[in-house]
Symmetry: C2
Subunit: 392 residues, 2 copies
């Protein structure tokens, strides 16, 4: 009795290809470069347990009661201060809405901005979770190819000239899936174009703090974010299990719309976890903690690149990320990633074929490799096996 009752909106929503892959690769003998999981080193387990006891002792029932939609005031103040200090921004706590992970932010952006048929510009390849969230609201996607230093700005301007662009979505630092980062020139050009064509820039920065060397780049619009929506998260630096992300929105009308959408979506994010996270952040040295994660990921990334240089034939190109969790490899055109995936799975090693990162789901010759969940010897062995298959 349900089959004919499903809404257009639901019929437009693709289910996640990656989650389907992950289910088939839970076998612990399989070497998996397919996931996107942070390494457990990033979870400060005992410190979070201490924070739990402390906030219950200090704040009692408040940590268990219903709370405000925009999020715990103390946490929003911490986020604002942190960004103002580390990125020299001028964010006010009132401009922040805490979200149930960044995924909720993507869903709400789609909900509040997209009418069916509106143009939404994505990178090519694009973050899968964003494709999924926005697809629900039936936009007309336009994909702008990523060059080594960011979107192709000429192609972007062509699309902007065609009009009806609601927003541009970008992951400017160590992008998922490509690992690529925008150059200073492309950052300025992108910011300039969005202003000139009066479209909204949605900047998603889950990996920015995981820059292997030097200070994080921060947001493209960090000095002028009136026309932007900025997303951040604690999933890659503290814990994804608590589902705590945030949006920064300066425009009051848009912020009110997002706040109302959030009210309708879940009333507010888990306030127990917001208290714990806030307590953890104010009682510990986050920079030191992130330092350990970066050190590990840099070694793992180097091990994978070294193995790829050794075992992949020269016809395979790949990115060399400055941070984050992913490497993107491009095979010769006569090899499709899905075929390689099937063969690799037989050899007990998996990755994500590029297909789901393209809005047309095309048969791609690209693949995403995650390096954060294997030790260096395992990374080398997995890449060796994939390399032999490519050579065949």
């Amino acid at each position: 009795m349900f089959e004919d009752k499903i809404s257009e909106l639901s019929l437009s929503t693709p289910s996640s290809f990656i989650r389907a892959i992950l289910k088939t690769t839970q076998d612990s003998n399989i070497i998996s470069f397919a996931g996107g999981l942070p390494n457990p080193i990033s979870f400060p387990k005992e410190k979070l347990a201490e924070s739990t006891q402390r906030v219950i002792d200090e704040y009692g029932s408040k940590v268990f009661q219903y709370s405000v939609t925009a999020g715990l005031r103390e946490l929003r103040e911490y986020i604002a201060e942190h960004l103002n200090k580390t990125q020299r921004m001028d964010v006010d706590a009132d401009e922040i809405i805490v979200t149930t992970g960044s995924q909720q932010a993507l869903d709400m952006i789609g909900k509040v901005l997209i009418n069916p048929g509106d143009t939404v510009i994505l990178e090519e390849p694009a973050y899968l979770g964003a494709i999924q969230a926005f697809s629900q609201y039936r936009p007309a996607f336009k994909a702008i190819p990523l060059e080594y230093d960011g979107m192709d700005m000429d192609r972007l301007e062509e699309k902007l000239k065609e009009g009806n662009v609601k927003f541009i979505y970008t992951v400017p630092n160590f992008q998922n899936p490509s690992g690529l980062t925008y150059s200073k020139e492309k950052r300025e050009a992108l910011h300039d174009l969005t202003r000139r064509y009066e479209c909204i820039l949605v900047e998603d920065d889950p990996y920015g703090d995981l820059k292997f060397e030097g200070n994080p780049y921060g947001y493209i619009s960090k000095n002028e974010f009136d026309g932007s929506i900025l997303l951040g998260t604690f999933s890659k630096t503290v814990t994804p299990g608590m589902r705590i992300g945030y949006m920064i929105i300066r425009n009051p009308e848009l912020r009110l719309r997002i706040n109302t959408a959030k009210e309708a979506a879940d009333l507010h994010s888990n306030v127990f976890s917001q208290y714990i996270l806030w307590d953890y952040l104010t009682h510990n040295d986050l920079a030191e903690h992130i330092g350990k994660i970066k050190q590990l990921y840099r070694s793992q990334s180097s091990a994978m690149i070294k193995a790829m240089e050794e075992y992949f034939p020269e016809c395979v190109s790949f990115t060399r990320p400055e941070g984050g969790m992913f490497i993107w490899a491009t095979l010769p055109e006569n090899i499709t990633a899905m075929e390689l995936f099937a063969k690799a799975k037989e050899k007990q090693v998996v990755f994500v074929p590029g297909n789901p990162f393209y809005i047309d789901g095309r048969a791609a010759s690209t693949m995403r490799l995650n390096y954060t969940n294997c030790d260096e010897a395992t990374i080398t062995e997995g890449i060796r096996r994939i390399g032999s298959l490519i050579k065949e």
Copy 2:
């Protein structure tokens, strides 16, 4: 630059009137019957702190990592077993999806089922959070008046005959806002009508466990829920701050659609809190804990009814809930609840005027009174003040 970019979906979403009221009544001198907050007695604070330490010790990184969309397997198994034991149902853990509070379930039901213009049948008065969540997807609401023992079944059948009804939404036990409960006859009639007219019955039961005397009624469709969507929550019995609710859906197609919508909405609900809640539920006596909450609410409810009998003129009628958190009062037609609200606020006592619980937002002569957050003396004093104003 944002004002002309807001989607139809967002423009259709009312913001919560109650949340607006609550913001204006934070002053601690005000006697508030306006909220819908559980009494802090319902939060087993120290037990939850113990559970936190235990799950971190026993499960380590798993409680902080990304998790599955449908929810923690162990928690879903607990819920299934609990319902099968206490309500003699035959729920399987696979039929359960954990949600970020019941509000998320309402949002996803709207998203997955409503095309603009579809008929959705609600009770009159109806739960505000459901009106808000469903409104986003632009249904044609039809409201069926609540009689003392449930919806008017003749009126319901008239509407069902008109066709195009996607689903009926009901809160059968101690409804918010009315406090009313369906009789056995109306339960059977409602179940029968939904089957006969092949429409989906959405049953939301947040208060069912808080029945003052005897065993809970449970779901209307508990013996045959193939055509139903059942919602439950731990917000009123353990803690709302963790935002943990659940949906029970037997139909595999619909369950898959909801699961995909959840994936796009927040990937999964906070798994740290799911572990803690599950550990708490399996290490403590929930029935004993709920017993304490029920005892308190019964006294508070009785105190409010006694005060209303004493201080309200006879022209005011009101419900006498068998459980839950609310009493609904009906004033003479020449008094609007908004006028009374304004005067009551001057006298430092607030309630929720009935208006937002009607789909047309009409000027109502009804009001919702919550009794779970004041002691008996305060309840009596608040009702005395409102009573004098009505008499004026």
